[in-house]
């Protein structure tokens, strides 16, 4: 029973990683860049929700929507100002810029909101949980897992079935050929950043509700974990990000429970190394090969 409880809370944590990993993975898939500022967009999302609820006294649902809106706009603006001018630049330049944006956001938050951590309101989701026999699962965990599954299904349908989704996949394969089809590649990239950043806000609210102490660096570690999850599952793949996120959360939680609290992160990254040795493209990633 104990094991089951660790497993389920691991799935809850993993669902947050998965939602973040989706943002990383989609942006990588379309724009072919690692947006290392993704974790910091999550931090901004958490602060927006915090101020909306604790500061302005908005109802949680409105605050969440506001946070999604703010992150979406932030993501699109960052792409326009920082990444778009570098479309033809080397990937190293883009990577360094992304790290720069990350520092900019962290330090901007430090100036604006101070280094002291703030306490994220606990009234967003219902307290308590569902009790089955001797096992109690918190509502937050249940909601987190459900939200993650819904997002994943909606994204799969969107990318798989709609015209815009097809255009996104076309851009991810060959931007020149996509342009020849009449696809506005820049608009697709903006849309991808908008979706990824909007999801970051959802992840932010779920994460801050799980670990209610928020500070300007709150996005850093989960950001790296989400990146790891995306790579683990196969970066660029939506189901890969989902699977990678869940797996990471479960491994992290079980290692904390059964092996060592301190070593859990090392174990998580160790698993990444082992899996990449066996499957270099990640669990569900496609091998990159070119047919001439």
């Amino acid at each position: 029973m104990q094991f089951l409880s660790y497993l389920i809370s691991g799935l809850g944590l993993g669902s947050v990683y998965a939602i973040m990993a989706l943002g990383y993975s989609m942006v990588y898939g379309i724009a072919k860049m690692l947006n290392f500022a993704h974790g910091d967009i999550i931090m901004v999302g958490a602060y927006v929700a915090f101020f909306a609820i604790s500061g302005a006294g908005m109802p949680p649902a409105v605050a969440i929507l506001l946070s999604i809106l703010a992150c979406t706009v932030l993501g699109v603006v960052i792409e326009r100002l920082a990444y778009k001018p570098l479309r033809e630049a080397s990937s190293l330049a883009v990577l360094i810029t992304a790290i720069g944006v990350s520092y900019f956001l962290e330090n901007g938050a430090l100036i604006l909101w101070g280094a002291d951590s703030k306490f994220f309101p606990s009234n967003i989701f219902p307290q308590g949980g569902l009790t089955v026999g001797s096992l109690t699962i918190s509502w937050l965990t249940i909601i987190t897992i459900a939200v993650c599954c819904i997002i994943m299904i909606l994204l799969m349908l969107f990318v798989g079935r709609t015209n815009t989704g097809r255009a996104m996949r076309a851009c991810s394969e060959d931007k020149g050929a996509a342009t020849l089809m009449g696809i506005n590649v820049n608009a697709i990239i903006s849309l991808t950043f908008a979706i990824g950043s909007g999801l970051a806000a959802v992840a932010a609210v779920l994460l801050a509700s799980t670990y209610p102490s928020i500070s300007p660096t709150l996005g850093a570690m989960p950001g790296i974990k989400a990146f790891t999850a995306a790579v683990l599952g196969g970066i660029g793949s939506i189901p890969g990000a989902f699977l990678g996120g869940l797996l990471l959360g479960v491994i992290e939680n079980l290692s904390k429970a059964y092996i060592s609290q301190q070593l859990s992160d090392a174990i998580v990254f160790g698993v990444l190394v082992v899996i990449l040795l066996i499957k270099p493209a990640g669990l569900l990633g496609r091998k990159v090969s070119e047919k001439v």
Partner: protein, 234 residues
Amino acid sequence: MLKVENLKVRYGMIEAIKGISFEVRDGEIVTLIGANGAGKTTTMHAISGLLKPASGSITMDGQDLVKMPSHKIVSLGLAQVPEGRRVFAQQTVEENLVLGAYTRRDKAGIEEDQERVFDLFPRLKERRTQLAGTLSGGEQQMLAMGRALMAKPKLVLMDEPSMGLSPLLVKEIFHIIEDINKQGTTVLLVEQNARMALAIADRAYVLETGKITLEGTGEELAKDERVRKAYLGG
């Protein structure tokens, strides 16, 4: 229909196209022949907007293509079959075709054109649910052509459609190009296979290191001593 005037294209310091002018008239097959590196693909990319020219003008039915964002050029009725096919390997044959019609909103017309493409290329119909990456080279070429036709273009640019194909398939592809033209689509064809290209072309231009050195009807150039020596193996 398409008019290129004094076109210059640069890659950094290198001038790849040194001021060329040519035109494609309604209903024609026009071919641009030349050796590797003569600037054929560069010219194609400049027309479809993938490359911005250094100077000169490109107009289609009087509209300036140079100033237009490249993704809007398709809607004017100009589609391209790019060099190396560039089909979307991870998408099915049918999805590739639907992407070809991305700028269109007339659902009935799109379905009709898909049937037309399947009539031209029955092999694509058999493989409609297969991923494009699993097709053979010839089938991918057919898909790239079908995908371009899905835009319902007035003018289609074809860049080296015979590249890497067996002689038998090359013949088939050239027959289909003639068919497409007979059905009312104007064709601008870029080819290294000068013999085949000149055989079907109404008019032709010879491109040599960024300049047009000869022009004439397909027949004239096929008989021209210089062309025979340089491109037709004597």
